[in-house]
């Protein structure tokens, strides 16, 4: 093939990859997860927190001893694993979206302020951002939990927000700086536009797209973090059926009653994977330059 032909072939293949690679499975799976989370009380056959001791450690239906009453079996306290997984979706998604939403909003505001005012405001905020970002997530999460007292849902969300706002702030600041360089900002000033107006009418709309993509990709990470925290006992407290917590509870039973740990673990894996794939696709569509994140 000549150079020209090769070039063309590569280009068309790239175009095809870019456009038609809609991650149908991921999106479908995510829909399932979201639906489960919202309609959990109607989908789950049993109460996730109540268990009958005589029904404990029943294997999943495809194994010997299992039944369709408990598709995924039961755990040590006789609770239906399937119901717990369905309700667990609520926790993971709630933590994921809530933390990202709050951290994203806070981070964006700070990032915009830093990028708009520049000078010492920017320098100060960026130092703060760098420091916060340098902290290893799980480590600091544990420490924060220690400080804030016994763990709970709201404390987990708060912890994540405190640790993650800087991530959005940095990105938004960079974009804000780029936007501020543009002549249309000068022209807005010349027309007498106030700071608020410039920020919300000009900077924000231009910063939004990449922000959304970033947020989506982050949800995956947050779900993992929450799962790890719950696993360690520093996240959502029992008896709430958080996936990470379920894995921890079934840890000692890994040899015989593997389903207690592995099934919620797989749930985590699939959900995070789906979010990652969907997020990647979204990012490629909006702005491939974000690829290095």
């Amino acid at each position: 093939m000549t150079d020209a032909q090769t070039l063309e072939a590569t280009a068309s293949r790239a175009a095809r990859l870019g456009r038609t690679r809609v991650p149908w499975f991921s999106l479908a799976f995510l829909v399932i997860v979201v639906v489960s989370a919202i309609f959990a009380p109607w989908i789950a056959p049993d109460d996730p927190e109540l268990g009958r001791l005589r029904d404990r450690l029943i294997p999943p239906f495809w194994q010997e001893g299992g039944s369709m009453d408990h598709i995924f079996g039961t755990d040590l306290l006789g609770r239906d694993v399937f119901s717990r997984v369905v309700f667990g979706a609520r926790i993971s998604l709630a933590v994921g979206f809530l933390s990202v939403a709050i951290a994203g909003t806070v981070g964006s505001i700070i990032g915009m302020i830093a990028g708009y005012y520049k000078g010492w405001v920017d320098a100060l905020l960026m130092r703060l951002t760098d420091m916060t970002l340098a902290l290893p997530l799980i480590l600091m999460a544990i420490v924060l939990v220690a400080i804030l007292g016994s763990p709970s849902f709201s404390k987990v969300v708060l912890t994540i927000v405190i640790l993650r706002w800087a991530f959005y702030a940095r990105q938004v600041r960079g974009e804000t700086l780029a936007v501020m360089e543009q002549p249309y900002i000068d022209l807005a000033r010349i027309s007498g536009a106030s700071t608020r107006r410039i920020l919300f009418r000009h900077v924000l709309p231009n910063v939004m797209p990449s922000l959304l993509v970033l947020a989506t990709l982050n949800v995956a990470l947050i779900i993992l973090v929450e799962a790890s925290l719950s696993f360690l006992g520093a996240g959502i407290p029992p008896p709430t059926p958080a996936w990470g917590l379920m894995v921890a509870e079934g840890r000692d039973l890994i040899k015989t009653s593997w389903w207690v740990s592995i099934i919620p673990g797989v749930a985590i894996f699939l959900t995070v994977l789906a979010v990652n794939l969907a997020g990647d696709w979204l990012r490629d569509r909006v702005d491939p330059r974000l690829r290095q994140i």
Binding site: T10, A134, L139, A146, F231, G233, G265, V272, L277, R291
Partner: protein
């Protein structure tokens, strides 16, 4: 270069200082430390005594200064309530385990990530590339505790090749290192691949190709060296992160490292221990960042030969 180093060094010192300060005040935030040490049924006299012994009857500012002096001059980080031993003792015991795990994991990560990354860059767009990238995304989506548990289930329980937990035999390190290394290698692979791609695309590589140099030589000699630069600098950061941050893996395998120490301290509310561990991990972090800066400054000619 000298000026660069000096500034970075100062920043490191400042960071350390701020770390210690922040930790001190954060811990105080959770309430009077004395209350934790005083048994509930103690009389007022006993309570006062305890306070005096631990220096908790002095104003906060003075306590802070004492603390600073202890940390900086004596390297004394307090006494663990749980173990009833100086914090530094426990830290020095555990730190080797963490370092060992970190090094082993880095090996694993390099071993997996580098060849995969390089090869998928070379064979870009091929099926291999596709699989490698899928592998990387999947790897990044798996929670580390799940991987750990699965490895234990198959290799320790079923096959009995490795011990189930702890740091009892030489082979104990394999599974934890695999788990942690796997987790880290996903990001590494991506970085290697994109860095390699960038380099392969570079003009001078094309030029070398045109000149007719043997293709294999081109790849291995020129491209690889430059592609690995960002990977190397990134790996130092990762190293620092996993020394302190391998918490989950250490918990799953009951590996006696710093991470597990911290988790246990949090769960038993052993504040001096929490304080000490965080400071140590933070210090390692800062030190490693500083060394990364030096390394980077050395390798980047712009900084090396600057005024």
């Amino acid at each position: 270069m000298k000026r660069f180093l000096f500034v970075r060094f100062l920043q490191a010192i400042v960071s350390l200082f701020m770390l210690v300060t922040v930790v001190f005040f954060l811990v105080r935030l959770t309430g009077d430390p004395a209350l934790r040490m005083i048994p509930p049924q103690a009389t007022q006299e006993v309570a006062d005594n305890i306070r005096r012994v631990f220096g908790l009857d002095k104003p906060v500012g003075i306590q802070y200064l004492i603390f600073l002096r202890e940390v900086v001059l004596d390297f004394h980080l307090g006494t663990s309530q749980f173990f009833m031993r100086p914090v530094t003792d426990l830290l020095s015991m555990r730190i080797w385990a963490s370092l060992q795990l970190a090094v082993a994991s880095m090996f694993v990560a390099f071993f997996i990530a580098l060849p995969l990354g390089v090869y998928s860059a070379i064979r870009r767009g091929s099926r291999f590339d596709y699989i490698a990238r899928a592998f990387s995304i999947a790897g990044g989506s798996l929670p580390s505790f799940l991987v750990g548990l699965l490895l234990i289930r198959f290799f320790a329980v079923e096959l009995r090749w490795f011990p189930i937990c702890c740091r009892s035999e030489p082979l104990s390190i394999v599974l934890p290192a695999l788990t942690l290394g796997w987790f880290v290698s996903a990001a590494f692979m991506r970085l290697t691949r994109s860095s390699m791609l960038e380099v392969l695309d570079a003009e001078y590589v094309k030029l070398a190709r045109i000149k007719g140099v043997n293709e294999g030589l081109v790849i291995w000699k020129h491209a690889l060296k430059n592609a690995l630069l960002p990977v190397v600098t990134y790996s130092t950061v990762v190293f620092a992160a996993i020394v302190g941050g391998a918490i989950v893996v250490e918990t799953v395998f009951a590996w006696p490292g710093l991470g597990k120490l911290l988790v246990d301290a949090v769960l038993t509310r052993d504040f001096p221990m929490i304080q000490g561990t965080v400071i140590l991990i933070g210090a390692i972090f800062i030190a490693t960042n500083f060394m990364t800066d030096i390394l980077y400054g050395f390798l980047n000619p712009k900084i090396r030969f600057a005024r």
